[in-house]
Structure formats: C-alpha cells, structure tokens
C-alpha cells in the first residue's frame, strides 16, 4: 500500500481529488483512501511529534507499505523553486542525518532537508509560553552556508523517517517537498493548495513508478504441501525442512506438486515411514 503523509489538508487536497480518496471513518488522524485500498493519505498535523504518532499508528496496520512524505517547505535559497526529493534529511535538534534510498528515477531535483521543531517566522509564536532557544533563521542561514546542498526546511521529515524506519527500509521511503515560503506567516492555505496542485502531473508519474518498484510477488505453496505435512505427522523440524525444499523447488522451477502427489499415495503409518518418504521427497527434488 502507498502510504502518503501530509502535514496539513491544503497539501493533501490535490492528491485526494486526483486519486478519488474517500475519508475513512473513526480514525485518530484524518485518513483518505481509494476504493481498492492501494493508496492512503494521512494528515499528520504540523510538527515532529504529530508526524511520528501518525506514521507509527498508520504503519502498524499497513500491509507492505511504501512511505511517501509529501508537503510544502520553506526554502533557504532564493533559487530553490519547484518540487524536490530529499537525498538527506538532517534533524537540527539532534544534528543526526538520515538517508532515504534514491533508487526510483523521479527526475526531481535532489537536495538536503533540514527538519526542526520551530515554525520559520520572524514573529514570536503567540502560542508559545517560553521564548525560543535560538534564532532559527540565523541558524539555518549559517547551516546552509556550511552545507550548501541543504536548502529546504520543514517540520516533519526527520520524524517520518525515524518512525517509518521501524517498519520499512530506506528503499521503501520517499520524501518530496515543494517550496512555498521563507517565512511561515507569509503563506496562505490557498497558495499551499495551488502549488501542491501544480505538482500533480509529476506526482502521478512518480506514484506509478512506486507501484512498479514496490510490487510484491507473492508465491503461495500449493495446498498439497499441507496435506503432505499432515500425512507424515511432520515435526517442527520436518515442517521447516519441507518448506525449504518447496522454496527451492519454486525457485528452481521443479514440479514439487507432482512429486508430492505421488508420494502421498504411499502407505505411511509409522514415524519411520514419514522420515523415509520425506527423504525421498528431498532426493527427488534435488535430483539425487
């Protein structure tokens, strides 16, 4: 399942419209999914703690997920416009960097993202009790100077990476951000929505590629395998042995089903009969 995480509704709205996602009921975080349950978009809320909670809650019940973190961000470089993919994500609160794999060809520009806990704005946040510990703008300017490949700032990416990594690998995550502002007070919801909508054609292509990349080829064992295990009253060790032989046959294109059907015709009463037949199964499958 493609699990998309956006912080706020205006970022997600174009995706909801394009992929006809319907709101799910009785969820802790607002979630929207399509009819065949291959895409789900979760609104995490702003900030690392919210993102972490939403990702963890979602992925705990997700089957074979691919995580796409998408949203707007502030830019530290005047020329940073458009849609960007994170090649690295540095949490400015801890200084630790995270690296999602870059295996899917997106054609997006790549850069480093800084993730922090504060809103990037000149004014004091009226909701805060204490003054902020440092001037974020000044700090980011100096960090961008020292690490010029980092030129976007957001408030969720590092948390999404850390939480998602409990469930998926770095090859199953992608972080995309489009730039909107250099000061959070200067951007409005309509503008966030408008700029998000501009990315839809590119996002559709990327999502198609994600589905191809992340396709799960599940191979099921034939039901005759269980019949065989039951017939020989297989012990745990024998069950593992049979499973391994069947895995080998499936990978080598050996017709284990016919072999098992033949062996099932044998008279198996005692434990020794079961062992003998199991050994015969292995010998036949391995061409001995």
């Amino acid at each position: 399942m493609l699990e998309i995480f956006c912080a706020i509704y205006p970022e997600a709205k174009p995706l909801i419209e394009t992929f006809h996602l319907k709101k799910e009921r009785n969820t802790v975080f607002d979630q929207f999914s399509n009819e065949d349950h291959t895409i789900r978009c979760t609104l995490t809320g702003v900030g690392k703690e919210n993102a972490s909670a939403a990702v963890t809650m979602t992925l705990m019940h997700s089957s074979h997920p691919f995580v796409l973190s998408y949203g707007c961000s502030a830019y530290l470089d005047q020329e940073a416009t458009g849609l960007f993919q994170a090649c690295s994500i540095c949490d400015i609160d801890t200084g630790i960097a995270y690296y999602p794999d870059l295996l899917i060809a997106t054609d997006c520009k790549e850069c480093g993202f800084f993730t922090g806990s504060q809103l990037l704005q000149d004014d004091i946040n009226p909701r805060s009790t204490l003054p902020v510990p440092f001037d974020l703008k000044v700090y980011l300017e100096s960090m961008h100077y020292k690490y010029p490949s980092y030129y976007l700032y957001d408030m969720e990416s590092s948390a999404v990476y850390q939480s998602a990594n409990r469930f998926v690998g770095p090859h199953e995550m992608m972080f995309l951000r489009y730039t909107t502002d250099q000061d959070a007070r200067s951007i409005h919801a309509d503008e966030v929505y408008r700029r998000s909508k501009e990315n839809i054609p590119v996002l559709e292509q990327i999502i198609q590629k994600i589905f191809v990349f992340h396709e799960e080829e599940k191979k099921e064992m034939d039901t005759v395998v269980q019949q065989f295990k039951d017939k020989i009253h297989a012990s745990t060790t024998q069950v593992n042995q049979i499973d391994q032989i069947v895995m080998y046959c499936m990978s080598a294109g050996i017709d284990y089903v016919s072999i098992l059907h033949e062996l099932l015709k044998q008279d198996i009463q005692e434990k020794e009969d079961g062992k003998r037949v199991l050994n015969a199964f292995q010998r036949r499958c391995c061409g001995e």
Binding site: S88, L102, S149, V212, A252
Partner: protein, 337 residues
C-alpha cells in the same frame, strides 16, 4: 507501462562522500570517472551503509558508491571457511566493501547490510598498517575477498598499488582473487612470485544462472592464459562448487575446457571447495532472494555453517577432483571440520 528496470536509477547515479575525504586525491580521481553522478556529502559512511532494514537486493540493482576513510581494523585474521594454502599468518584486508558483480550465492549479501559499494580512499593507511605488521612476522594477505578488486581496477588501481608494495616487501605475499574483468588494467599489476592471481572458475551454466555480470568462462580462461604468459603465479579456484540438476556434466565440461586451454602443471595451485556459508548469512540471504535456487537449496547446518549434505559434498567435489587427478599434488581442498 513501466518495467522494473525502467523505473530505477542507473548504477553509480549517486556517490556518497565522507566530508573528511572530499578533497582527498583518490576521491577526486574516482569521482572523475562519474561526472554525471550526484555527489552527496555525509559525515560517516556507516550513516548510509549501516542503515536499518536495507534491501541488498534492491540496492544491488541500482548500486551506489560510498567513498570513505577506514579508521581502524585494516587487517583481519582469516575466516575458517577460507583456504589457507599452508600459509601461516593468514590475513585479509578490506579496501573495498561489496562487489560490482552480482553472484547470487555470494556471502557478501549476508555479511553486509547494504548492497552499495564502499571504497576506502585512504589506501596509504592500509599500507602503513601492513608495514607495521610485517615488522612482527611475514604475512599472507588476501586483498580481494570482499570485492573483485581487478573488476574495479580501472577506477582505483589498488591491485597495482598493492602489488608494487608487495614487490618491495619480501615477507609479504598477496592473493588477488577475481572472476575476471573486461578491462585490460589488470596488466598493470606488478608481476612477482608473491603476487598471486587467483581465478574463480565455474561452469557456463553456473555463470549464466548465478554469477550475474561476470565474464563468461571462455573470457576467464583467456585471461588466465595471458596472465601465465606474462609470468604471474596463477591459482585456479573451483570454489564454490554448487549442486544443481545436471551438475556433473557441467563441471566435467568445464574441467575439460580448462585442461584443453591451460597447462595445469604450470599453475601455482588449485583450490576446490563446495558451497558453504555462515548460518546467519544464509538466513538473511534467503529472505532477500526468495527466487534464488542456489540459496534456497536445502543445505544442512552444523557448527554454525550451512553446506551440502556430506555424501553430496563428497560427490560434487570428487567430480572435479577426479577430473584433475593428474595434478592432485597441487590441489588444496577445503576441509569441513
């Protein structure tokens, strides 16, 4: 409609470079071969190489490069599954982690958490450490266990550097193991009786089914012929020998071709060993590669290692041993203790 190969990036599309090594001469030399690659500066190679839950299989198909500084552990004592050829003080060194080739049965897939290729660019520190150890005793050093050094010779020239170093140090003997290479850069390796070129040979069936990206058997044999003509001591490694349906015919054909093309009396020695691997490695590898028949084969496990069942192991090894009977004095066979 997209196919998987259409949606992934090319190999070496990205190069991760440790900040401390970004101005290093070897870093600049290597990156000059990949002018279109995106360069990503990192603090420590382990931040990328040791990430949790990586997929060796996914990364291998779009392998990226990591250039780093090795800070310690330049020499390791050898593994019990490796042949020592009667040498004392047997070590191996890891100037690179992972290989450009993609052999399905390779232990690197289980040993390393990542499929990306790490090159330690501070080769001079390796030489310094070897020199220090040589003050204590002689060394037999395998330099190409965790990679195929000759396959990467065009961009690193590490085999040349190590061979020249060996030439200057009489108590050092090195082995450079390879499955062959398409480039001619290997010929720059210093010819010395203490620089052994060890060629892994497999039947064409094994090469085409399991040793992806490696040169075919005929190419490897041609390379051996050239190496011997140039005066390199050559070792032939029939290792690992793999069991599959029809293996006997394939291995006999391979030996026939080898005997027809190479004067075995002139090779330095020959090693033979059937497939064996650490239990933990194989467990991981089987999860990552469910479609690999060589990995899914029902091996037996004892003393922490998976290997062929004893009777089958004897049979497969003797297929090759018996065919090489005339040079049995040169053969080292891996013993399962």
């Amino acid at each position: 409609m997209h196919f998987k190969e259409d949606v992934v990036v090319n190999k070496f599309s990205h190069i991760y470079i440790e900040e401390e090594m970004k101005d290093n001469a070897m870093t600049k030399k290597i990156t000059s071969f990949f002018p279109h690659a995106s360069k990503i500066i990192i603090h420590d190679y382990r931040d990328v190489f040791n990430r949790r839950k990586q997929s060796h299989a996914h990364q291998k198909s779009s392998q990226n490069l990591i250039l780093a500084k090795k800070k310690n552990d330049f020499l390791y004592p050898s593994s019990p599954v490796c042949q020592s050829f009667d040498y004392e003080n047997f070590y191996y060194t890891t100037t690179m982690m992972n290989c450009i080739y993609d052999c399905e049965y390779c232990f690197l897939k289980g040993m390393y958490p990542s499929g990306n290729l790490v090159i330690f660019v501070n080769i001079e520190d390796f030489l310094h450490e070897i020199e220090n150890r040589l003050k204590e005793h002689s060394i037999y050093l395998c330099v190409s266990y965790d990679t195929d050094m000759l396959a990467l010779e065009p961009i690193t020239q590490y085999a040349k550097i190590l061979s020249e170093f060996t030439e200057k140090h009489p108590s050092l003997c090195i082995e450079i193991r390879t499955k062959g290479t398409y480039s001619q850069d290997w010929k720059n390796v210093c010819v010395s009786e203490r620089v052994i070129l060890a060629f892994t040979l497999s039947p064409e069936y094994v090469i085409s089914h399991y040793e992806h990206g490696t040169p075919p058997l005929t190419k490897r044999i041609a390379m051996i012929q050239e190496a011997m003509k140039m005066g390199y001591p050559v070792r032939l490694c029939f290792d690992p020998i793999i069991a599959f349906q029809g293996y006997e015919k394939e291995y006999l054909e391979m030996v026939r071709l080898v005997k027809e093309s190479i004067d075995l009396k002139r090779v330095k020695d020959i090693s033979i060993g059937s497939f064996r691997i650490s239990r933990n490695y194989l467990k991981d590898m089987r999860k990552q590669y469910p479609d690999s028949s060589v990995l899914q084969y029902p091996y037996v496990c004892d003393h922490g290692f998976y290997h062929l069942r004893d009777d089958i192991q004897k049979k497969v090894e003797h297929t090759v041993l018996d065919a090489l009977d005339e040079v049995k004095d040169k053969i080292y066979q891996w013993e399962n203790e």
